[in-house]
């Protein structure tokens, strides 16, 4: 059996009396989409933050590609190959879509202290960035400042930036949020292919998307994983239906 890309073991995080993460263990295997679902306030985003490095867990370990992530900050984990997208778009607002992706390309190349060559004449940045914008369907909006993009376009740009990092794993925090049915459908197809480039830990509320995409689903409620399994197993789990899915499944 293949080694997991990402291994989370016995992770715990409390904010005062609130246990946001309570003994969570999750594996992300090569080539899979592992969906993390659960009601609002279940601690999904807190978990993503701990994996990406912006929140420090109280206890437990996170291993990525066999390496202990403890002590590495957000930037170091990103350089290691862990790319995340944000629940609410987080972009350089004054920069065009192209320049937002170019920044990721330059970060991947590890050359952010170069002070001479103008970036807008640097084909080694522009060409890969344009190709990625083309891939997510934003090529026509390349020169529009991020602040002037529509909500859906910003979500696409988030994905484009993550792609530009050529990561070893994706952490996608509600990529479908606010996309509308048509946009969600397009993005679902896109993510379906993406898993072959790198596995995806996917936090998502859109159950149609989750059921269409996920190889495995873990259900988080009050900081604990109450069930973990295939789509069929989760759909039919009585505890999950009571705690979260209700009649939706």
């Amino acid at each position: 059996m293949a080694e997991p890309v990402l291994t989370i073991r016995e992770l715990e995080k409390s904010f005062g009396a609130l246990k946001a993460t309570d003994g969570v263990s999750i594996d992300l295997m090569p080539g899979e989409i592992h969906a993390l679902i659960g009601p609002n306030g279940a601690g999904k985003s807190t978990l993503i933050h701990q994996v990406s490095g912006s929140i420090k867990p109280d206890r437990g370990t996170i291993h990525f590609l066999g390496q202990d992530m403890a002590g590495l900050d957000v930037a170091a984990r990103a350089r290691f190959g862990l790319a995340r997208s944000f629940q609410t778009s987080s972009l350089a607002q004054e920069f065009s879509a192209l320049r937002n992706v170019m920044l990721a390309v330059q970060a991947k190349q590890g050359s952010s202290l170069r002070v001479f060559r103008p970036v807008m004449r640097d084909r080694s940045l522009i060409e890969p960035a344009l190709a990625i914008l083309e891939r997510v369907g934003l090529a026509g909006r390349a020169h529009v400042p991020a602040a002037e993009l529509s909500h859906g376009e910003r979500r696409q740009l988030e994905i484009a930036i993550a792609l530009a990092l050529e990561p070893k794993a994706f952490l996608l925090d509600e990529p479908m949020a606010g996309m509308g049915p048509e946009g969600s459908k397009v993005l679902t197809g896109f993510l379906d292919d993406l898993r072959h480039e790198a596995p995806i830990l996917l936090v998502e509320h859109d159950m149609d998307a989750v059921f269409a995409l996920a190889d495995r689903i873990s259900v988080l409620v009050y900081g604990r994983i109450i069930a973990s399994g295939t789509v069929e197993e989760i759909r039919n789990d009585p505890e999950v239906r009571r705690a979260y899915l209700g009649d939706a499944a």
Binding site: S52, A78, R99
Partner: protein
């Protein structure tokens, strides 16, 4: 987008030519005073161009850049004082009145001082960053005030302006041209930084530092480099300013000076290539002409600043050339 870019280039060229032509003409007409006024504009613009790297590109509101302006000034003053007394300067090294050496000392000193100040200050942000940079500058200010060896609060005169190989720096026009060349070089560097990969990371960190971390660039490192470069440019301006006035005093280190540098940038246009130059022109001309009419000229400066902040965020250059755009 193209049109605003072209307008800004024309505005910049006009400002650059005006700043060169006026002292040339004044010198030809035997009016050295206006050459000195233009030199003052040039040096303040250089100091603000340095701050513009941290403030304009990086969004780092340093309220302590007077520290570097003053340190540069003291580098020039102290070396000139030792050379005047024919004493060794430091650790038995010969003192010198050669500007290139003095500039190098000023720039390196400011870089070395800015490194720890930046490393500590950049762990904070917002109003705390403003206060901590202010606190560092005030520490250096009080130190200079209470160090009698170099004049304490009375300051330190430079009896003979320092020298530059092949240039008669005692004459106003050649000295102006030196300062003007330094300003153009600094602006070229600013332009190069802004358009480079480093500049992209720095400006992105100003807009959204979470995003910059998430792609794997540590904002702290980028900001620290920017802060140090910024301090070095302002330090060079300080050395020139001391030579212009043939005098250096703790007032160059005071928080008024830090504030003045910020005001110059806000007046001219934050983050704009020629913002500091336009701001310094407006500031010095107001100081000269209104200052001749009333001692309370800063009241009018305040009103203009109020107008800019409320109605013209892009400063003078923003009014002329429109909103700044990034590729």
């Amino acid at each position: 987008m193209k049109a605003t870019g072209a307008r800004e280039i024309i505005a910049n060229a006009t400002i650059a030519l005006l700043l060169l032509a006026v002292p040339l003409a004044a010198s030809a007409m035997g009016e050295p005073f206006y050459v000195t006024l233009a030199t003052r504009i040039t040096i303040l613009a250089l100091a603000a161009a340095g701050l513009n790297i941290a403030l304009g590109l990086g969004g780092l509101v340093s309220f302590g850049h007077a520290a570097f302006f003053g340190l540069g000034g003291y580098a020039a003053g102290i070396m000139a004082a030792h050379a005047f007394n024919a004493e060794p300067f430091f650790l038995g090294l010969d003192s010198t009145t050669s500007m290139p050496v003095i500039w190098l000392v000023a720039i390196v000193t400011c870089g070395l001082v800015a490194l720890p100040i930046g490393a500590i200050s950049l762990r904070t942000s917002g109003v705390y960053f403003i206060m901590i940079t202010l606190a560092f500058a005030q520490m250096i200010y009080y130190f200079a005030n209470s160090w009698p060896a170099y004049g304490g609060q009375d300051g330190l005169p430079i009896f003979i302006r320092n020298t530059f190989p092949g240039v008669n720096t005692a004459q106003p026009l050649p000295f102006f041209l030196l300062c003007y060349a330094a300003l153009l070089l600094a602006l070229l560097m600013f332009w190069s930084l802004r358009n480079s990969r480093f500049g992209a990371a720095l400006q992105a960190a100003r807009q959204n530092s979470v995003r910059v971390s998430a792609v794997g660039i540590a904002p702290f490192n980028v900001r620290l480099v920017a802060f140090v470069i910024s301090a070095m440019v302002t330090g060079l301006a300080g050395a020139l300013f001391a030579d212009l006035n043939r005098f250096v005093s703790p007032s160059m280190l005071s928080w008024h000076m830090s504030g003045e540098l910020i005001v110059l940038i806000v007046l001219g246009g934050i983050g704009r290539l020629f913002g500091p130059v336009a701001g310094a022109m407006l500031f010095v001309l107001l100081e000269h002409f209104l200052g001749g009419v009333t001692e309370r000229w800063q009241l009018f400066l305040g009103l203009i600043l109020l107008g800019v902040v409320l109605f013209a965020r892009g400063g003078l250059l923003g009014m002329i050339a429109g909103k700044a755009r990034h590729g």
